[in-house]
Each structure stands twice: as C-alpha cells, then as structure tokens.
C-alpha cells in the first residue's frame, strides 16, 4: 500500500530549478533510499515533504490525504517526522526535554494546567518522561538524558535527533544524512540500528545519505536524483549496476566541464627576475617552531615545526582534520596561536593581527578562496594593489588570465569557481608577496583549470615567491612542490623531499589514507568514465582520478563529507567505489 505518493513535484527558487517532475512512491514499512550527488535536490524534497518549503507544482499525498495546505506541525502530527543534515537540536535543553517536546505535541497538553501544575499535567509529564527514556534506551543513549544537547558530540546529536523524530510516534521518518560524521564501524552500527528501529517502532523511512554502503545495505528500494530529476530507480542491486548512476556519481570528463582554455599559459609582462637566486640566498623566510592553536576548548594543532625557504614550494598533505588548514590560519593570524613562534622574514609574528602580517608580504588564500562576493573583479584587484602599496596596474593580471579582463565589471560572487580562484591568484600576481599560502586550491574545480593553476605555482616559484600549499590531491601537489610535510592528528609526522615521496608512495599511503578500506598497493576495479570499461588501478592512482576526472559537484560533495567525517577524501572514495562495485 502506498503511504507517501508524490506526483510531478517541482520547486523553483527564483530562477534555479531545484526539483522538476519528481514522482515517488513509498510503501508502508519500506525503507526507501534517496541518493544523488550534492545539489541534486534531496534535501529540497525532504523540505517539501515536511512542509518547510512550498513546491511550485505537483502534489504530495500521505495516507491518501493531500498535504497541500498542511503546515509543518500538522504534517508532524499526521505522522511525518524528520532529522536534519545540519543538526537542529534545541541546544539549551536537555536530551530528555528534546524528546519530550514532540511527545507533548502529539498528546495535546494544556498550557494553563501546565502552569498551575495540576495533577493532570503531572501524569502527562511523567508518562512523557517514561516514553522518552524508553526511546533513549533503545537508541543506547541512557547515559545522556540529563546532558544539554549543545554539549554533545555531533555523532551523539545525530542519534538524539533520530530519537526525537521517533518520539513523535511517526509513521514515516525522513532521515537526512544520518551517517554523516560517523566512521565505518559506527555506520555499520547505524545500519543495524535502523533495522531495529523499523521493527520496534513500525515506521517507514526515507533515507538520504552519501554513504553508499549504508544505503545499499539498509534500503529496500532506491531512487536516484540528479539535477532535480529522478535519474533512476530500482532495487539496490539494479541501481548499483545502472550505468547512468555510475556516471552521475563518478562523473566523466564531459565537454562542458573541460572548459575550453585558450592554449597554455603564457606569462608575459611579469618581472621575470633573477629573484630566485636572490631569494634563496637570503635563506629561511618562514620558521615555525612549537606552534599550537585551536578553537574553544579544542586544541587542533600542537608542536608544529615547519620552515619555508625563500622561493621554495612546500606542500602540506595529510587527511582532512589533520590540522593543515589550522596551521595556515595560525600563521596568517586568523587564529591566535596558543604557543610557539612564527618567524617571518626575521620578525616574530605570532599573535600579530592578520592585517599586519598580510602587509609584511604574506598572502593567504583560504579555503573558499577568500574573496568579496559583491565587489567587481576590477575592484577586487584594485583592492589588492591598494593594500600592498604596489602600483595600480592590473595589466599583468589580465595578461595571465584574459578571461578576467572580459569579466572585469562582473561581481566576483557571480563568477564560476574556477574564475574565482583565478581572481585569488591574480591578487598574488599583482601583490608579489614573499610567501603565498594557498589552502585547497583545486577544491571543486574542473581538471583543466586545476592544471592551469598548478602551472601558476611554477611561475610563482620562478619569480622568487615562496609557496606553502595545502592540497587534498597529493599527486598534483607533489608534482609541483620541492618539499612536503605530512600531517597526522594535529602534528607533523613526516618531512621529505617531494621527489622522494613521489618515488616511495608507501609513506603517503600509510599516513594519508589512514584507515582506508583497501590496504596500500591493493588493486581494485574501477569503472572509469562511465563507458563500462573496467580498469585495474592501484590506489595512489586513484587519487589522481579523483583529482582530475570527477565533476566539481561530486568532488565537492566528497570533500565536504570527508571534512564532516574527519576522514580523507581518498579513503571515502575507495569505499564509495567498493559500494558501486560490489
């Protein structure tokens, strides 16, 4: 029997089509999986079902009744509960109270008798508490009942959200990425838990997750969304072998993605000096010793010792959450160092504010490129020359990136990711810093652009600009770098010449892949390019595939998830591929 029936659903935000003609049926007692790359419209569909977004067309029926005019709380009372991808627990309330709210909501309570503390309310209160405790017990959360929700780690909060949804006595639970932030063991546990929940609470579920191993294991039936449309549907086994799905997930170097770029970069008009020699002779540019930093109570990095010679390109590599980004932020002053020294060009800059450090010739391009969305390209570049005191001549930047010249009047926020990174790099060209720190330069960019950007780093080196690079995609980074530091758990585990690391991959495989499913050197089968040709490749090459062949959205999704889960994107990718291949 169809419990949830969606027909021809469409959602538009302004000009953006988030969903288009989506139809979906969910039967009683079923666990339905909803997968697809980020931005495919999964969460929007959830929002439509739970009533926080109004669809522009189409119908949703729940148990035969239309949900068209039902506000969110009404849908909740009819039996639709949900969890949230970005946790939405009530932080100032205890876990127990978090569960009591939906329990009360179902069993109508009286405000006046609550305030007077009448026996009626007393009994209701006690029974609500008992029910909440029972649910918490099933979810293994007994130890947390009296803790404030905001103080709990994210993994526990996700489970509390599930508990809160179940407290509604729902018929259908919408689970938005319940496995985000869980490691492989915990995900396994979650899969068992979901089956248990279905039996104990007799609920149907609609599950969105990026973790294919979870979705494939738990779900009875799967819908695949891509670009707001249903791409495919079927039993897990069928979906797993669907070529369209594999293509959507792994991507192929489609013509649109490989943006046509006029020839290789020809750098003209730049002061190609013998700066390299001069710079190298002057010795150590950046010297970090014993650096520690963190956020709030959390100490993220400690005992970081790191040097960068003038004119040298140094890569920082390591799993996500290993402390690379925090190290850069502590150096540039965005995060205040808690201990240690940061000596730049002979002066201790630890604890100085970022403006001063920037003006000393240390440019930091943070993750997300650090631009001003409302400023035009030209104004942005002018700002760069203003603050560095360099002459206001934007020609050098426009020579390297002619496309920016075409778009000079456009607001930076409206540019594509690649063009934005060009703007960030153009700033370095104009400012000519002594040290350029770039965080995740290739994040979410098409391969051709990434190649061009890496070429730029070579150019910087030739101009005597030292570069400190944090890069998820090791192979490309090592190809351009002189030396590399390998980060593990907030400190530096290894330091070596890039050449050496490229020859001996075991060093990286060991620390970078961390708990990757496949042991280093293992060969796995990969369906590449969605053509059905299977290739056998070894895992270090996998990184290259990830860095070059995957569409930007997928890569960003992968990285976001890796960030959330504190794992390397590589390890994640391996699991994903395994899931598809199995």
């Amino acid at each position: 029997m169809t419990m949830l029936r969606i027909r021809n659903l469409g959602v538009r935000f302004g000009g953006v089509v988030a969903l288009h003609g989506v139809s979906l049926d969910l039967n009683r007692g079923e666990i339905l999986g909803l997968i697809g790359p980020n931005g495919a419209g999964k969460t929007t569909l959830f929002n439509c079902i739970s009533g926080v977004v109004q669809p522009s067309e189409g119908t949703i029926h729940f148990e035969g009744r239309s949900l068209r005019f039902a506000p969110p709380h009404e849908r909740a009372r009819r039996g639709i509960a949900r969890t949230f991808q970005n946790l939405q627990l009530w932080g100032s309330m205890t876990v127990l109270e978090n569960l009591q709210v939906p329990i009360d909501a179902v069993g109508r309570r009286n405000t006046l008798s609550d305030a007077l503390g009448l026996p009626l309310s007393h009994y209701a209160e006690r029974s609500a508490r008992e029910r909440a405790r029972a649910i918490l017990h099933v979810l293994d959360l007994d130890g947390y009942t009296q803790r404030l929700a905001a103080d709990l780690p994210a993994g526990i909060q996700r489970r509390v959200e599930l508990g809160r949804a179940l407290a509604m006595q729902p018929k259908l639970v919408l689970l938005d990425e319940p496995a985000a932030g869980l490691d492989a063991g915990e995900t396994e546990h979650l899969a068992q838990l979901l089956h248990k929940v279905r039996e104990r609470f007799r609920v149907s579920m609609l599950l969105v997750d990026h973790d294919m191993s979870l979705v494939m294991r738990v779900c009875d039936y799967i819908y695949v969304l891509d670009f707001g449309k249903v791409l495919s549907r079927g039993e897990p086994a069928a979906v797993r072998n669907d070529q369209n799905v594999i293509a959507a997930y792994l991507g192929e170097a489609t013509p649109e993605l490989a943006e046509p770029e006029p020839g290789p970069t020809v750098v003209t008009g730049l002061p190609r000096t013998d700066a390299v020699e001069v710079a190298r002779a002057s010795g150590r540019l950046l010297e970090v010793s014993g650096l520690a930093a963190g956020y709030g109570r959390l100490e993220v990095i400690r005992d970081i010792d790191l040097t960068v010679q003038a004119g040298e390109v140094v890569a920082c590599i390591g799993a996500n959450g290993a402390g690379k980004t925090t190290t850069l932020r502590a150096i540039s002053g965005v995060v205040r160092p808690r201990a240690g020294r940061v000596v730049f060009a002979g002066r201790d800059i630890a604890g100085a504010n970022p403006e001063r450090i920037s003006r000393m010739g240390l440019a930091h391009i943070p993750e997300g490129r650090g631009l001003f969305p409302r400023l035009s390209v030209e104004d942005t570049l002018r700002l760069a020359t203003d603050t560095s005191g360099k002459p206001e001549n934007l020609a050098a930047a426009f020579d390297v990136f002619p496309r920016l010249k075409q778009r000079r009047r456009q607001a930076v926020g409206t540019l594509s990711g690649g063009e934005q990174q060009m703007v960030a790099m153009a700033r370095a060209i104009l400012v000519q810093p002594r040290l350029l720190m770039i965080d995740e330069m290739s994040q979410g960019l098409a391969p051709t652009i990434v190649r061009q950007l890496f070429q730029m780093i070579d150019v910087f080196r030739s101009q005597g600009i030292a570069v400190l690079l944090v890069e998820q995609f090791v192979e490309s980074a090592l190809a351009v770098a002189d030396r590399a530091y390998i980060f593990e758990h907030g400190s530096i585990a290894h330091e070596a010449a890039a050449e050496e690391l490229r020859r001996d991959r075991s060093v990286i495989a060991g620390s970078y892949l961390g708990t990757a499913a496949a042991a280093p050197g293992d060969a796995i089968e990969v369906a590449s390019n969605g053509n059905g040709h299977h290739k056998r490749i070894t895992d270090p090459q996998l990184m290259e595939i990830l860095s070059m062949r995957v569409p930007a959205e997928v890569k960003r999704a992968l990285e976001e998830r890796a960030e959330r889960e504190g794992r390397s994107a590589g390890a994640l990718a391996l699991e994903l591929l395994e899931g598809v291949d199995r």
Binding site: P72, Q88, D104, L116
Partner: protein
C-alpha cells in the same frame, strides 16, 4: 529541581518577607514599592517573551499603558468596579499583544525590534496623546481614580497604598511561580524549542503560529496586569509613564538583570522604581543637580544606559544569571551548566 509545592512555599515565604518591607516607610517609598511591582510585571512579561520564547519586543510599556487606560476608562467612564477595570485592562493588553504578535510570525531579531519600537512610538504619540482617542485616555487630564476597592478591601493612592501593594505583591508572587512552572512544563519546552530552532520546532509538531501568539498574549497580559494597577496607586493616568522610553528602559533593565530569569524581574522592577526616587531625594545639592532640577529621571536613565553597555560587554547573561553562575561555580560539586529557571 524543586517541585510545585516547594515553589509555592517559597513564593509564600517571599510574599511574607516582602510584604513587611515598606511598612513604616513614608508614602513616597510605599509608592515606589508598588511601582517596583508594576515595572516588575513589565520585566516579567519580557522573561516569557524574550527569555522563554526568544521573541524581541520594544513595546512592553505600551501593553502596560493600554491596560492602565483600559482600567481607568472602565472605572471612571463606565463606572465599573476596579476589579472589572483590571480585567478589562488585562484583556485590552492581551488583545493588543496578539495583534503585535502577528508580524512576529514572519519577522525575527532586529527587524522585529524595529517594528515593535514603531508600535511603541505610534501608541505613545498617536493613541495616548491624540484627541481622537480622548474616549480612551480621558483627554489631557487622564482618568482620576479615587476610593476604589477590590474584594471589599479599600485601596487607593493616598490612605490605602499598602493594601494595593499587598495585592500587587501577591499577584506578582503567584505569576512568578506560574512562570517557573511554565518553564519546566510542556508549554515552556515548546517556547524554548521555538527560541532554539524554529525549524525543528515546527517539524516536531509545535504550532508556531499558536505558540508565538500565545507567548505575545501571555506577555502582554502580564505587562497589562501590572499596568492596570497604575491608576490605582498613582491616582490618575498620564501618557508619560508609558511612553516609548519606558519600553526601551524595560527592555534594557530586563537584559541588564538577566532576561531569562524570573527573579531578575523583581530585581529590575525594584531598580527601576526606587533608584530614581533615591536620586531625587538625596541627589539635590550634589553635583547631580548642577545641570537640571529634574535629576531623577535623567541620571537614572544615563545609569541604565551605561550599565547595560557594561553588562553586555562583561556579563552577557545578565546580573542575575551571572550571580547564579558564580554561585554555582563556588560550590564544590561538579559544575553543571546553569539552566534558566
């Protein structure tokens, strides 16, 4: 966590102690004591609205004013008993509260603050001071209230001021206990759920429209309950006590004392009523009277402004919240995060 009985017992003890406080003092201080409770109700109304439900309002004095005029009109113009006046005043304030709550269904944070400030100003300039509304405000002279009685107890601004104080105090203690109960009960949790995440609240079955309006209604009703006593203890009503700056002061003192805590309301009310009077009594002849004769109001308001700025920089949870946290930290048992009560 004390149970209901304990809370009522604590309220009765508090009543017994506080009722003795103004006995034997001169009429001026007795008036201050009663006024302290009226403004105490004003801040209590913010505890529900802002502290519990997370909604911003800069027009609490307007609610009190509407109730004061409503009570005055019922007594003077319709010749009802004072009890009826109070009921009418609270009713009028509650209705206004629901109306003011309507924009809050769509607005949040600073925009809601701007709108409610606008409402306070409109009522100050348009309703309370415009001849169009003379039927409600009693014209420039306002309503005069003399020889009123509640439940057969004579209460008025001259001879029986203490009786008014006692009734107000009893009501205040009662409302305070009810609010603490509310905080711990289902409805209170729903308010707090709206404060912490409206998105989660609505999808977990909390009717946002209903509970936001309910918060505004309760809040306006409480402010109105205090306001409806104003004609009784002052003998008449005028626009001045309920103008826009009083609303701003109520918000400022509420935040200053700790807007999430019920006892902070008593503290704030006392501060708001007594300090200006003390300044007037003892400030003359000092540096304070060098600029202006009417020193009470201005020096007081400067103090409120400066203290508010300092408090928000130094102790964000308000005076009461901060004291509680410090007291909790001084006890040796493991520190639990302080929760509002």
């Amino acid at each position: 966590m004390p149970g209901h009985v304990t809370r009522f017992a604590m309220a009765i003890v508090a009543f017994a102690i506080l009722a003795r406080l103004p006995v034997g003092l001169d009429t001026g201080f007795q008036f201050d004591a009663a006024l302290a409770l009226i403004w105490g109700f004003g801040i209590l109304s913010l505890v529900v609205l802002t502290g519990y439900a997370g909604q911003v309002s800069l027009c609490q004095a307007t609610f009190a004013g509407v109730a004061a005029y409503g009570a005055g009109m019922t007594v003077s113009s319709l010749h009802g008993g004072y009890l009826l006046g109070i009921v009418a005043g609270v009713f009028a304030a509650t209705v206004l509260g629901v109306i003011v709550g309507l924009p809050a269904l769509r607005l949040h944070g600073i925009t809601l603050a701007i709108v409610t400030l606008g409402i306070a100003l409109v009522f100050d300039k348009y309703v309370f001071q415009d001849h169009l509304f003379d039927w409600f405000t009693g014209g420039t002279g306002g309503w005069q209230v003399t020889n009123a009685s509640i439940f057969g107890i004579s209460v008025d601004s001259r001879e029986h001021l203490l009786a008014a104080y006692d009734i107000l105090l009893a009501l205040f203690c009662l409302v305070a206990v009810l609010l603490v109960n509310l905080h711990q009960s289902g409805a209170g949790r729903r308010f707090r759920a709206i404060r912490d995440s409206e998105l989660a609240a609505s999808t977990m079955g909390v009717n946002l429209t209903r509970y936001k309006l309910l918060a505004f209604a309760i809040s306006a009703g409480i402010a109105g309950l205090g306001g409806s006593f104003y004609p009784l203890i002052a003998g008449s009503v005028s626009p001045q006590p309920f103008w826009v700056f009083t609303s701003l002061q109520l918000a400022a003192i509420g935040v200053l004392m700790g807007v999430r805590y019920v006892p902070a309301a008593a503290l704030g009310g006392m501060f708001m009523a007594v300090v200006p009077d003390v300044l007037t009594r003892y400030g003359h002849g000092t540096f304070m009277s060098r600029f202006n004769y009417d020193i009470s109001y201005d020096w007081f308001q400067i103090a409120v402004g400066v203290l508010l700025v300092l408090q928000l920089i130094l102790m964000p949870d308000g005076v009461w919240g901060d004291l509680r946290a410090r007291a909790a930290a001084m006890r040796i048992r493991p520190v639990k995060k302080v929760r509002p009560a």
